[in-house]
Structures are given as structure tokens and as C-alpha cells.
């Protein structure tokens, strides 16, 4: 119904919109999200023909190009066929006219002569948007913010427009009013196509069917709302979602480095992007369809930095059985599992410290056959025991500088400078006294930070942290993790975080992989797994994850405790359990409460169960 082609808009020579292509069909709710200043409002106003700047391109509405339409024709379209609710709720209504009059006027200016009919229509719509009928005669100053927003919506929908543009429809409303307004808006989505402009992602998620992410006047990602939110593919979208406080995700808030500017050549996001390459600064990427998504990125979205598939056995004991995992740029993948599940083996195999029976490792898409010096420049590891992982014969300076010596980067002075810099980054003093200390002079936290500094000194892209904070007390651990999260935000560090602590993984990871007896049994977005675990093993891990209260007295309805005290999950009566895991069946079968006959006979495959994977015949659904 509405097609926008190559739309460019500028004010005073500053180009705000650069080449926008959009399509809006009947029944669609398209949300445009992005930070403030990315051109969202400009886009809405351009469609309304109310932009003060100049526009080029085409805005086709029912076959007519609105940009070349004469003003009088535009006026007749405005409010009747395309309506808009503007951002400013407080001043959006004329202060001197009653609500009903203003809604009536919207009908009357489009040629209806009969005032009675207009009045009836206005009342009907005002009732539909849920405004109390005692308020119809009120003036705007007598209404609350929510009531004003309802009135503004009524005013826009009174003529049954084909397209309704909503500019921040829920900004500055409290959560309950917001929910009510969204419910009101949903009443109109069947008849009217919506263009929802918002920085409030939860509103967009609730209201829209499709989502377009606008940055620097270009659409960087577009797709069905659910897909985009579950798996953002553009680094900017991921940054937006990470910085948006909500009840669904569990990772700590992270921002997007840098600031937006409209004077950027090439990809508008490249100055803030952590995976930029040379071409990003040179030319703007064209939007390409990839899977269920339209994405404009030279790198095709967030790149998979490390792809691992390996098997390893120590004698007859299969420690890793065809483990497959992918670590994306700027992402934390937490590898969870009890001790003996093969976590450390996996880390060491990736690093090449253990020789795998069978392996296929790809670094940035390229197959790794030998661990060259370049590999270690990109991938670094922090070991489990910091006190032991630093040589006792080396002082801090030597320990941290050693990788630089091996990689022969710069002269002594530059190396010293770099060491001080990286020590500063991990919040350790860079003075000579400290540099001369030996590991046994350091506290546990300091030693760990020295180990991290050693890993970071080469500026790696990937950090494998193997239980690297489990030996530390919680406050030091918190500081170190914050440091790692900051590095991730600033330069897109990818972290493979190996831990047995689910509570910790929940706060720092984007994705979670649960390892059991050398197999991944469940893998997916952290929040999904935490809130809706499917595999009984994951559920068991969650049941015994740290809580700050007595498990037995947690009130009914609280998610984890209920399950912990729940005895309803009983194995089928008469089922014979073997005393330990057999090589034939599911490796959790002998401990599983939901076990059935089949579990002992076959091994479940890891199957996709969008947006995650699970290896279980009888996944538990709440």
C-alpha cells in the first residue's frame, strides 16, 4: 500500500535520511526503531508531507507519488488516508477547544457537512479508544497524559485511515497506561497499516509484526519482529537490544560505544562497530536478503568468529562427543556443566593444548589446521588457577610482556608502554614496584588480573575463560567480570566463558550451552534457557543454582523453587534404571526424573527447537 523508494531527506544541507526503501502492506505493523537522531521522526513526517527540509526519491501511496503531489491533494490525503500521531502528547491537542470538537473537526475538514454525523462518529471513536465519556467535553488541560494520548489516537483514526503513523506512541507514559494504549492501538491493526516509530523496543515488540532498524538515515536490519528480537544480526541491533532494560533478557546492560553522527562516509555505523573492516569506511553496504532478514552490512551481520566441532577421548572414555559450538563477534557464550562434563577439555582442545581425535575449527571462516602464531594472536585463554598459570620465576612485567616478546611487536619501550596500558585496563597499578612483584606477592584477585592482562596484551578477538574467576571472592569476581564486559562493549571481545555457575553465566552471557558427558544437550539464548529450560538436566542445574533464600520456604509461583520441591516428575513406575550411564542411551537417563523407556535405548540428537537446540526426547515445557 505504501512503498518508499530511495527516499533521501535533508535539512539545511545535512542529509538525515539516506536511501530508505520500505514497503508497508495492509494489516502490517511496521516498527522503526533506533536511537534518537537516527531520522525516525523525519521518516514519519516525510510520509505525511510535513517535512520542512527537502526530499528526493519516491513515496508511493496507492500508486501516487506523494512527493510530487500538489499541496491541496496532499491535504486531502492527510488525516483521511494517512494519519499521524505526533510524539509530543502534552501539546499535541489545541488548548482552547474541547476534545470532542477537535475530533469532530478532523471529520469535518474532509468535506462532511453534517455536524450531527460528525459528532456521532467522534463519540464512537472516542469511546473505542477508551476515553471516559464524561471527558468528551473536557479541554486538554483537564486530561491526564494517557487520556490525551487516547484523544490524539481518536483524532487520527476517526476517518479510518489506511495508514497510521505513530511517533513514539508510548513515550513518557507509565507502564500500565502504556499497556492500555497498546491494547487500544491493537483494535485498529486489522483495518489500518501502522508505521510505529519508537525507541521503546518493548512497544515495538508488542505492537508490530515487522521491524526495521534505522541508523544514520539508513535501514540496517529488517525482518519479522520476533525474528529480529530473538536473533539480532546487525551489530547495531544487538547493541540496541543489549542496552534496553527489560524483563526478558538476563545479561547485564551494555551500551554501544561512541556517538551517532550524520557526517559519516560509508556504512553509517562503522565508527562504532567493533567488527569493521576497511571497506566499511569506504562505501555504504546495500541491503541484502539473508534468510529471514534484510541486512545492510559488509560483513553480512555479526560474524561467527570461531566455529568449533570436535571429539576427544582419553582411552575408552569419550570426553567430547562431536561437540559443536559457534562463538560470534562481541558475544559471550557460556559453557555450563558439572565437573567432568568436558568443559576444560574443550577449551584446551580449541587452544591446541590437547590433540583432538577429530576436529574442525574455523577462525573467522578460515579452517584452522595448525595453531600458528597468528592464531594465538587472535585467541587467548585465561586458565583456571591464576596462581599456577603464571610462572613463579617471572615477575609481573615479564609475565605480561612475554606474549609481546614472542610475537615480536615493537621495541622494548613500546612493549613496556603496552604492558602499563593493559595493566591499567585491568585496574592494576603500572608502577615499577608492582611490575617487579612475583606471583607469590600477589593476592588471588591481583594474580587473576595479571593473568587477564597477559591474555589481553596481544589485543585478541577471542578470550577463552576457563573457570577463571571461580577461585576469587565475589567482589573481586564482580570487578573482573565487569572489566571483561567493558572490553566486550568497547572492542567487541568474544568470550567463551566456561563455568559451572549458572547464576554468573546468566548475567554475562548472550548464549548458553549446556554440556553433559561430553555432549551439548541444550544450547540457545541465555534468557530462553534460564526462563524456559527444556532439558531435564538444565532444569536440575537451574534448580540448584544459587539463591539468596531458603529453597523450601519460597512462595508458590516462584519459578525455580517450585520445581526444586516438586515431586510430580516421577519416573514411570516399574522402569528399571541401570546404576550408571550406559553407552547406548541418553547420558542423563539414569538420573532423569522424566525418563521413559526410549531414553535407555537411543541417544537423542541435538535438534533445533527455535530459537535453540535441545537433545532430549521428552523436553519439559512449563
Amino acid at each position: 500500500m505504501l512503498t518508499i523508494k530511495n527516499l533521501k531527506a535533508s535539512y539545511n544541507g545535512l542529509q538525515i535520511l539516506k536511501d530508505i526503501n520500505l514497503n508497508l502492506e495492509k494489516g502490517q505493523v511496521l516498527s522503526i526503531i533506533g536511537e534518537s537522531g537516527t531520522g525516525k521522526t523525519t521518516l514519519g513526517r516525510a510520509v505525511m508531507g510535513l517535512l520542512e527540509g527537502s526530499c528526493t526519491g519516491e513515496i508511493l501511496f496507492k500508486g501516487k507519488n506523494l512527493l510530487t503531489c500538489p499541496e491541496e491533494e496532499l491535504r486531502r490525503i492527510r488525516g483521511r488516508e494517512i494519519a499521524m500521531v505526533f510524539q509530543n502528547v502534552e501539546d499535541g491537542l489545541h488548548p482552547l477547544y474541547s476534545i470532542i470538537y477537535q475530533v469532530m473537526e478532523a471529520v469535518l475538514v474532509h468535506g462532511l457537512k453534517d455536524k450531527k454525523a460528525a459528532e456521532e462518529r467522534a463519540c464512537e471513536v472516542l469511546e473505542l479508544v477508551g476515553l471516559d465519556n464524561r471527558r468528551f467535553l473536557a479541554y486538554p488541560h483537564q486530561l491526564s497524559g494517557g487520556e490525551k494520548q487516547r484523544a490524539l489516537i481518536a483524532l487520527a483514526v476517526v476517518n479510518n485511515p489506511d495508514i497510521l503513523i505513530l511517533d513514539e506512541p508510548t513515550a513518557s507514559l507509565d507502564a500500565l497506561t502504556k499497556a492500555e494504549i497498546i491494547a487500544v492501538l491493537k483494535r485498529f491493526t486489522r483495518e489500518t497499516a501502522f508505521l510505529v516509530i519508537t525507541h521503546d523496543i518493548s512497544t515495538a515488540a508488542d505492537l508490530s509484526t515487522h521491524m526495521a532498524v534505522l541508523y544514520g538515515g539508513r535501514i540496517v536490519e529488517q525482518g519479522a519482529t520476533g525474528d529480529v528480537l530473538a536473533g539480532p544480526r546487525h551489530p547495531y541491533t544487538r547493541g540496541l537490544l543489549r542496552s534496553y532494560p527489560n524483563m526478558s533478557t538476563t545479561k547485564d546492560l551494555q551500551g554501544i560505544p561512541g556517538r551517532m553522527s550524520h557526517h559519516v562516509e560509508g556504512c553509517p555505523f562503522h565508527p562504532r562497530c567493533t567488527q569493521r573492516i576497511q571497506i566499511c569506511a569506504a562505501e555504504a553496504p546495500l541491503p541484502v536478503v539473508e534468510g529471514n532478514r534484510l541486512i545492510a552490512c559488509h560483513r553480512g551481520g555479526i560474524v561467527p568468529l570461531l566455529e568449533v566441532r570436535c571429539s576427544k577421548s582419553f582411552g575408552p572414555l569419550k570426553v567430547l562427543q562431536d561437540v559443536e559450538c559457534v562463538l560470534h563477534e562481541g558475544e559471550t557464550l557460556a559453557l555450563i556443566g558439572e565437573s567432568g562434563s568436558g568443559k576444560t577439555t574443550l577449551a584446551k582442545t580449541i587452544m591446541g593444548l590437547l590433540k583432538a581425535d577429530e576436529e574442525e575449527i574455523r577462525l573467522e571462516g578460515k579452517k584452522v589446521t595448525r595453531r600458528t602464531i597468528d592464531f594465538y594472536q587472535r585467541v587467548q585463554m585465561i586458565f583456571q588457577n591464576p596462581g599456577e598459570s603464571i610462572s613463579h620465576r617471572m615477575n609481573v612485567l615479564q609475565a605480561v610482556k612475554e606474549p609481546l616478546d614472542i610475537h615480536k611487536t615493537g621495541n622494548e619501550e613500546e612493549k613496556l608502554e603496552r604492558v602499563r596500558q593493559v595493566l591499567n585496563e585491568v585496574e592494576l597499578p603500572g608502577d615499577d614496584d608492582f611490575l617487579k612483584k612475583y606471583p607469590h606477592h600477589l593476592s588471588g584477585g591481583e594474580a587473576q588480573r595479571v593473568a587477564i592482562a597477559r591474555a589481553l596484551v596481544l589485543n585478541p578477538k577471542i578470550l577463552i575463560a576457563d573457570e577463571s574467576t571461580s577461585a576469587l571472592d565475589a567482589s573481586v569476581q564482580a570487578k573482573i567480570l565487569k572489566l571483561m564486559m567493558n572490553l566486550q562493549e568497547k572492542r567487541g571481545l568474544s568470550i567463551l566463558f566456561i563455568t559451572h555457575d549458572l547464576a554468573l553465566a546468566r548475567k554475562i552471557s548472550d548464549r548458553l550451552a549446556v554440556l553433559l558427558k561430553g555432549r551439548i544437550v541444550e544450547e540457545g539464548p541465555t534468557s530462553e534457557i534460564i526462563y524456559h529450560p527444556l532439558h531435564p538436566y538444565t532444569r536440575a542445574l537451574l534448580d540448584y543454582a544459587p539463591l539468596l533464600e531458603d529453597r523450601s520456604v519460597r512462595p508458590a509461583g516462584s519459578r525455580w523453587a517450585r520445581r526444586a520441591c516438586d515431586n510430580s516428575l516421577q519416573a514411570a513406575p516399574g522402569l528399571k534404571r541401570p546404576p550408571s550411564a550406559t553407552s547406548k542411551g541418553c547420558s542423563y537417563a539414569h538420573r532423569c526424573l522424566a525418563v521413559k523407556e526410549r531414553c535407555f535405548e537411543e541417544k537423542p540428537e541435538l535438534i533445533a527447537c527455535s530459537p535453540r537446540k535441545v537433545a532430549c526426547f521428552y523436553p519439559q515445557v512449563d
Binding site: R80, D91, Y139
Partner: protein, 361 residues
């Protein structure tokens, strides 16, 4: 009322319970709004009464605080020279000058209540009667000047403000600023010289052609013929303030969010200009018109003198020349009352213009 139709509809649609509910809730709210409005009027009325009393008191005390004999202040030295002791006795008695100040004040107020503003010795008639012969002309002139200057200033301001920076706006702004530089009597003199003396298009003085015996339409034409120049002088000078205020308010109002809403509704340009932006601009303009009225009255006094227009200005001038103190005091008092009344009327009218004022008392 627009709303009644809707109430009926609810009646039919939702059955009697809903209807009763709506009516029962709705009616008291309307009464409440009405009550609030009348409370406001009573309060502001009180303000005006207090203001009037203060003015009356000042009017009473000022001649009595002047140095020398109040009688001397009233009649001047020459009159006192020829005054016989009997006459002086009688005058002192008449002004109650022989009694204590409090009693003098009381009798002053009482006589005002009776409509007695004193006796003009020059016209040898009661002051009120003299004034009532001149007042209508002044009211006609000021009233028309106020209405026309506000109206024209507003219209020009709206057109100019909505065309900011374009030729019409620049022309109007330049031209009107030029006129605003002149004082009104000077403008009067210029108009009189040009149209009256050089072009002989308008009469030089008076409000009607004396002894012409016009009646009906001819009377009106004659009246307007005399009125046009003094009115033009006043309007041209008074126009500026309204025009500038309207233009500036227009420019800021056009940037408001509700104008954008109106545009998005699909309102035609003219409707946006007047119904939306103009209506909002009217508020400060009306306030300013009320405030300006006092200035307008003083301006009128000068202009009347220039055109020998038989209004209070000319009368005041004459009473000054003849030192007819009771007349002077009477004129000032009447003008004060007129100004106060106009302001009171505006105050009563204003809530109808701005619903936001109605709610705060």
C-alpha cells in the same frame, strides 16, 4: 449543546441504566464548571470595587492636600479677588470645608452615590450633566478605535506572521513600524493638515456639521465624515502594538505541536491560520488590548483637542483653561470608571476565550 445528541444516542443504545448513569454524572459536572466561573467573577469584581474606592479616595484627598486654600485651588486667584464674603461662605458650606475631614469624605461619597459630581462653575450646570453631553463622543471614538485597531492589528498580524519573511510580511512590518514612531496627536496633526487642509477631504473640526439639521442616513454619514480622521489617527498609532504582538505570537504558535496535529488532520491552510493558530494568538492580544485601553483614553484626549472633537478631551482641556476644578475631577473620575469597566468586561469575557483560566480561582 452539541453533546445532547450524543446523550440521546447513549440512551437508545445502552438502555436506561447507562443513560441514567451518564446523565447523573454529567449534569453535576457542568453545574460545577458554571459555579466556578461565577466565583471567579465575584472575586475579580471585588478587586475592581477596591480599585475604585482607592481612586475615589485619591480624588478626594489630592485637592485638599494641595497648598493653600482649597477654594483658591478651585477657583484661582482672580475668582477669589472678586468673591464676596457671602459667596465664599456659601461655597465653603457647599464643599463641607468647614467640617472635619472624615465628614467631608463621607459627604463626598454620598453625593457621588446620588450622581452628584459637583457643580461646574464655568458651564453653571451640574458636572454630570456637562460630562454626559461630551462622554458619548469620546466613547464612540475610543470604542471604535479600540475595536478597529485590535481587529485590524490582529488580522494583519495573523497574515504577516504566517508569511514570515515573505514580501507581504516585510512590507507590513516596515510600514507599521514607521507609524508607531509618531505620537498620536502628531499623527492627528499630520492627517488634519494633509486630508483636511490640503485635500479638503475631511472637516477640520467638530463631530457634526453645526446647524445642518441632518437626520437619518445623512446624519450617520456626516458623523462618520467627522469621525474618520481622529479615528484614523488613533487606529494607525495603536495598531502597531497589536500587530507586533499578534505577529510574534503567531510565529511561536505556528511552531507548536498542536499545529502539527492540525496539519496532520488535513486542515486547510486558512483553517490552521485562523481557527488554530489565530485563536491561540488572540489570548495575549485581548489581554494587551485591555491593558492598552487606559493609554488609548489618554491618547484620545490629545487627539480630540487636535480635531476640536467635542469629547471629554476637549472638555478637559477647556476645564483646565478655565480652572473648572469640579469638572476636571468629574472627567477624571468618569474616565477612570470607564477604564475599570472595560477591564472588568474583558475579565469576564476572557474565560470564555481561554478555558484554562476558568478552572483556577
Amino acid at each position: 449543546m452539541v453533546f445532547t445528541g450524543y446523550l440521546n444516542k447513549i440512551h437508545i443504545k445502552s438502555g436506561y441504566i447507562m443513560q441514567e448513569c451518564v446523565q447523573a454524572r454529567h449534569v453535576p459536572i457542568r453545574n460545577k464548571v458554571f459555579k466556578k466561573a461565577s466565583v471567579l467573577n465575584r472575586a475579580s469584581l471585588l478587586n475592581y470595587v477596591v480599585a475604585l474606592l482607592i481612586i475615589l479616595t485619591m480624588n478626594f484627598f489630592i485637592p485638599r492636600l494641595m497648598p493653600g486654600d482649597p477654594l483658591q485651588a478651585i477657583y484661582g486667584n482672580e475668582a477669589l479677588l472678586v468673591m464676596t464674603p457671602e459667596l465664599q461662605e456659601e461655597l465653603i458650606h457647599r464643599f463641607s470645608l468647614d467640617r472635619p475631614l472624615g465628614e467631608q469624605y463621607a459627604s463626598y461619597l454620598l453625593s457621588l452615590c446620588r450622581g452628584d459630581l459637583g457643580h461646574s462653575y464655568y458651564y453653571n450646570a451640574p458636572v454630570l450633566k456637562v460630562i454626559s453631553g461630551f462622554l458619548p463622543w469620546t466613547l464612540l471614538l475610543t470604542g471604535l478605535a479600540l475595536v478597529i485597531s485590535t481587529l485590524v492589528g490582529f488580522l494583519l498580524g495573523v497574515e504577516s506572521g504566517s508569511r514570515r519573511g515573505r514580501p507581504l510580511d516585510q512590507f507590513l512590518l516596515g510600514g507599521i513600524m514607521l507609524f508607531s514612531g509618531f505620537p498620536d496627536f502628531f499623527m492627528g496633526i499630520m492627517l488634519l493638515l494633509f486630508f483636511g487642509v490640503f485635500l479638503s477631504l475631511a472637516p477640520l473640526s467638530g463631530a457634526l456639521t453645526p446647524y445642518a439639521g441632518h437626520s437619518g442616513l445623512m446624519l450617520v454619514v456626516d458623523l462618520l465624515h467627522h469621525l474618520v480622521l481622529p479615528l484614523a489617527a488613533l487606529v494607525l498609532v495603536r495598531l502597531t502594538a497589536t500587530y507586533l504582538l499578534t505577529r510574534n505570537t503567531m510565529i511561536t504558535t505556528l511552531g507548536e505541536a498542536f499545529i502539527l496535529t492540525a496539519k496532520a488532520k488535513g486542515c486547510p491552510e486558512r483553517v490552521i491560520r485562523y481557527r488554530h493558530a489565530g485563536r491561540n494568538t488572540l489570548l495575549p492580544v485581548v489581554t494587551a488590548a485591555g491593558l492598552q485601553f487606559a493609554h488609548l483614553v489618554t491618547g484620545t484626549l490629545f487627539v480630540e483637542i487636535v480635531f476640536s472633537y467635542p469629547g471629554l478631551g476637549s472638555l478637559l482641556y477647556k476645564s483646565l483653561l478655565t480652572r473648572d476644578y469640579p469638572l476636571m475631577a468629574g472627567i477624571l473620575l468618569v474616565l477612570t470608571v470607564v477604564v475599570l469597566t472595560i477591564n472588568l468586561l474583558l475579565d469576564i469575557f476572557y474565560p470564555k476565550l481561554d478555558p484554562r483560566v476558568a478552572k483556577c480561582t
